[in-house]
Symmetry: C2
Subunit: 100 residues, 2 copies
């Protein structure tokens, strides 16, 4: 294994280099469908409770989310930091103090 | 806004500091359900094609994936790099050369 740390942006760019040609061919609707399929598989892995499978399924959901972001022109790092910058976006606190 | 770059691991830890108490109370099944709900909302935002909403929905899916990883003991950064380390895990190439 090479890197052991990666910025969200770097991960998204790595997904672009590996898959952008495929993601463009497939399009937004098809890529979104794959994301939902990967989320379904993550649910199955959670039920099976096999840690190795579970890790792979988390990786797949992250990868397909990055692919979808690439073909829709969203920077995931900017998006996450804009909404969750060391505080809950609803109550403004860390830890979150929202009333349930 | 503070930081403009964040490692996947740092983002996951930030989600832990904001939401771990809530995520633990809700549990794995309930947190997974929220993730699927956020993916559904992302699908709606893709159809509506409103960039500001879309960015927020991508952030929400990333945040709930991190919350779910926190309560299941998965390190998202390790998981993604273990599977997608500068190559497609199926064909071993960057760009991916898998036959469809």
């Amino acid at each position: 294994m090479g890197e052991t740390k990666v910025h969200i942006h770097e991960f998204q760019e790595m997904m672009r280099r590996i898959y952008f040609h495929r993601d463009c061919e497939r399009g937004i609707a098809g890529t979104y469908e794959w994301l939902t399929e990967e989320v379904r598989e993550l649910g199955e892995a959670l039920n099976a409770n096999e840690k190795a499978d579970l890790e792979g399924e988390f990786a797949d959901v992250a990868a397909w989310l990055a692919s979808l972001a690439n073909i829709t022109g969203i920077d995931l790092e900017k998006a996450t930091l804009r909404k969750y910058d060391k505080k809950c976006p609803k109550c403004g606190h860390m830890p979150c103090e929202c009333t349930l």
